[in-house]
């Protein structure tokens, strides 16, 4: 199996599709509200600001990564600190992935209950997502990325359709006062929101599959760029329709936008398009992150197979997802912790590891020496 995994290779398009889909999921969950919460009418400026920060962080990471072509973060950690560091980094990322997937799983299930399945028990709704996650993990990374490559354009087109269709409700005066709740909120509180790009950290684990550094760089910039464009359009559209402070009330901003679309007596209730996009994103997000949980676990502990891990981890995640007592707690956990502090794991830890590897442990790898 390990051999088979080494043979798996996918292109820039597939990898970008995967990362974009993982990042863009937040737009569907509540990203525009989070931006409006952060800086009021200047929520759209926060998007531009965190995009610049993310690009800057990725620029540093990408430059540092140039010496570690085809190596993922665990390989690099092992090189500088042996098995201990590899296991430590693996556990940090595992904890982060498990925490994030559990909360997102709960959010998706709760959203499903709010939108359509009001009478169904939360465990019943969650079960469907779990089945999808298990199926995705069994199918493996190659199937997941290929599926992403097909579905991602549909998701983006659907989102764009909603934003364009809701444009008759736009009121451009809603962006004033231009600095919203103030520069401190935009650039201070807003800084923490760089966490919205935290899914980029998965790119540091798919490096062995995309092989070249050029591909790594392209995938990173394209993913951040495309996601940022959609974040910007989504937040801007939401703000133009739901002015601050009403904008902070919306639980599912994009869903609420889609409910407003109406062209004449015939073309109404377009939110069904949203449900399709939403379900597709949810399944891709959950199954991809879930795959990486078992993959990182396998690689961290140098196990030969990952498939026996699928079921135990699925049960674990299912149970963790049911810990928050209610929807508000789940949403708060997501916005207060995940979307606020995970930038430390996604950007700071990789930079620290890469700097250490590059400047303090360079050339210790025999293979690299040989290549040089």
């Amino acid at each position: 199996m390990a051999m088979a995994e080494n043979k798996i290779k996918f292109g820039k398009w597939e990898a970008s599709a995967l990362i974009i889909t993982l990042i863009i999921t937040q737009l569907i969950l509540g990203f525009p509200r989070l931006m409006v919460e952060t800086a009021g009418t200047a929520g759209w400026i926060v998007v531009l600001y965190v995009t610049i920060l993310a690009l800057l962080a990725f620029f540093i990471i990408e430059k540092l990564y140039s010496s570690f072509k085809g190596k993922d973060l665990l390989d690099i950690s092992e090189r500088i600190g042996g098995s201990i560091l590899r296991i430590l980094v693996g556990i940090i990322f595992l904890a982060y992935f498990i925490f994030i997937i559990s909360i997102v799983l709960r959010s998706f299930a709760e959203n499903m209950k709010v939108i359509t399945l009001q009478q169904s028990p939360i465990s019943y709704v969650t079960m469907f997502f779990i089945i999808g996650m298990i199926a995705g993990a069994y199918a493996g990374i190659e199937a997941l990325v290929r599926f992403c490559a097909i579905v991602m354009p549909i998701i983006l087109a659907g989102l764009l359709l909603i934003f364009i269709a809701v444009s008759p409700h736009f009121n451009f005066e809603n962006i004033f006062p231009i600095l919203g709740t103030g520069p401190i909120d935009i650039f201070g509180k807003g800084f923490l929101r760089v966490s919205v790009f935290s899914a980029i950290s998965l790119l540091f684990f798919i490096t062995p599959f995309i092989k070249t550094h050029k591909s790594f760089r392209t995938v990173g910039y394209v993913s951040i760029g495309v996601s940022a464009a959609f974040f910007f359009v989504g937040t801007f559209a939401y703000l133009l329709v739901y002015p601050f402070p009403i904008g902070v009330e919306g639980f599912l901003p994009v869903y609420q936008l889609s409910r407003l679309v109406e062209y004449g007596r015939f073309f109404q209730r377009i939110e069904s398009v949203f449900v399709l996009i939403w379900a597709a994103s949810a399944l891709i997000y959950l199954s991809s992150v879930f795959y990486f949980i078992v993959y990182v676990f396998k690689k961290t502990f140098k196990l030969e197979y990952y498939k026996p891990l699928i079921l135990p981890f699925a049960i674990l995640i299912f149970n963790i997802s049911l810990i928050p007592p209610n929807l508000v707690t789940a949403v708060e956990l997501e916005s207060k912790y995940i979307r606020t502090y995970v930038w430390i794991i996604s950007f700071v830890i990789p930079i620290v590891i890469l700097v250490t590897a590059k400047y303090f442990k360079r050339g210790t790898n025999k293979e690299e020496k040989k290549n040089a």
Binding site: H169, E173, F244
Partner: protein, 430 residues
């Protein structure tokens, strides 16, 4: 073979699970509410009227054409809140009530004036079933009376009646598009206040009963009521549907503070940039006993500007319209360029006067910025805190207005030159 059995088992199980057992709701087990009416209750906080669709009657039961009278059933009950009322109604309505097709929420004027809608306006957007594009109307009589008076003549389906009737503002200019989404945003806004469609039940059964006591023409010093000088329920008409809409209910937050007649509503639409087209009647500027009717359209979006002079708002409004001549009763040759200018100027003055009357009515009497001029003021602030502290809604009452109307008559219709009617005694000769 084992693989096949496995697939078969998975598909069979998924068929059961994916049909959504818990949330399964058969369409014919649901009763769709088309209109919700809210009045002040006698025994409880609210009197709720629900107009429920009877799909069999709408569809005609396969016998060609439905029966408008039987297309809906109306129930009225009293309860503490709207959702409590729905629960109660489910006890005597055989099917489960569903609000996803509710087209209009009608509130009685009495309840709206007391601010009694505050509680449920806060609750409405939370409900998944209620659509944000549901119309909001205020009935000058009780909401129950209004809903019971909705007996469509040209449609079988009451839902279609509401949709077409409430969108007629696009070619009448006598109401506006006031939906739940818009109302909710403005109700909570710091720079704009909401309005709702004014509804009512016609007072007259026959032509002989007609009077113009309820018309606003007197207040405007007019000799006869023009088409916009009415509010809902006061239109001098008999026959057809008794339920009428005309004018707007003006709100301050969630409390109704006043009414606008049809003409004022048209000016409201023009200032908002929502005016599409409409006929407008005026006395002939050169022969006062005759009337002139133009078909007026919006030419450009309105320009609105707010300046603060000595701490008081000075609001400039510029409206650009174009028009086609529809009727010239006098036979005066207004089509000639030199006469056309006279007609254009007369209309400009007529509209300007009406607009100023409306603007000062909202600022000095109602003290509510239904036009959202505050949006322009908001631009002058850098941060939300400063804007919030400024308190625009309190300052609106001190506003002064400069209105500029530019109307250009483009086409004379199919008559290029008017000539008077000739009588044997020489009248009409020029």
């Amino acid at each position: 073979m084992r693989k096949l059995i496995c697939i078969f088992l998975i598909v069979s199980i998924l068929c059961g699970l994916l049909s959504g057992c818990y949330d399964r709701r058969e369409v014919d087990e649901l009763a769709y509410v088309l209109a919700i009416g809210l009045d002040k209750g006698k025994t409880n906080k609210l009197k709720i009227t629900l107009q429920i669709a009877v799909p069999m009657a709408i569809g005609g039961g396969g016998e060609g054409g439905g029966d408008a009278e039987k297309a809906s059933t109306i129930v009225t009950l009293e309860s503490a809140s709207m959702y409590a009322g729905l629960d109660l109604a489910n006890n005597f309505v055989s099917k489960q009530l569903n609000l996803s097709h509710a087209k209009v929420l009608v509130v009685s004027k009495e309840l709206a004036q007391e601010g009694g809608i505050e509680g449920f306006m806060m609750a409405l957007p939370r409900g998944r079933e209620i659509r944000p594009n549901m119309f909001i109307a205020v009935s000058r009589q009780s909401a129950e009376e209004y809903i019971r008076a909705v007996k469509p003549v040209l449609e079988v389906n009451p839902a279609k009646f509401y949709e077409l009737n409430f969108r007629a503002y696009r070619y009448t200019g006598f109401t506006a598009n006031t939906d739940l989404h818009d109302f909710y945003l403005k109700m909570k806004s710091l720079y704009s206040q909401p309005v709702a469609i004014l509804a009512g039940v016609g007072r007259f059964d026959e032509g002989q009963e007609f009077d113009v006591k309820g018309s606003t023409f007197d207040e405007k010093n007019r000799s006869i009521p023009l088409e916009g000088d009415f509010v809902a329920g006061e239109i001098t008409k008999s026959g057809g549907v008794k339920a009428e809409i005309m004018g707007l209910a003006v709100f301050d937050g969630a409390k109704m503070v006043g009414e606008l007649d049809g003409e004022a509503t048209m000016y409201y639409l023009m200032i908002q940039g929502d005016f599409n087209n409409s006929y407008m009647t005026m006395h002939d500027p050169l022969q006062k006993d005759k009337l002139v009717i133009l078909n007026i359209k919006r030419s450009r979006n309105p320009k609105r500007d707010v300046k603060m002079i000595n701490g008081k708002p000075v609001i400039d409004v510029k409206i650009r319209l174009e028009a086609d001549i529809q009727v010239l009763q006098s036979g005066i040759n207004y089509e000639m360029p030199q006469n056309l200018v006279i007609l254009e100027k007369a209309y400009e003055d007529f509209i300007k006067e009406g607009m100023k009357r409306l603007l000062y009515l909202t600022s000095q009497e109602y003290n509510t910025d239904i036009f959202g001029f505050g949006e322009r003021v908001k631009q002058q602030f850098i941060t939300w805190g400063e804007w919030e502290k400024y308190g625009w809604l309190k300052k609106y009452k001190d506003s002064t207005f400069n209105v500029d109307v530019d109307l250009k008559i483009r086409r004379p219709g199919l008559t290029i030159r008017s000539s008077p009617i000739q009588y044997s005694n020489g009248e009409g000769a020029q």
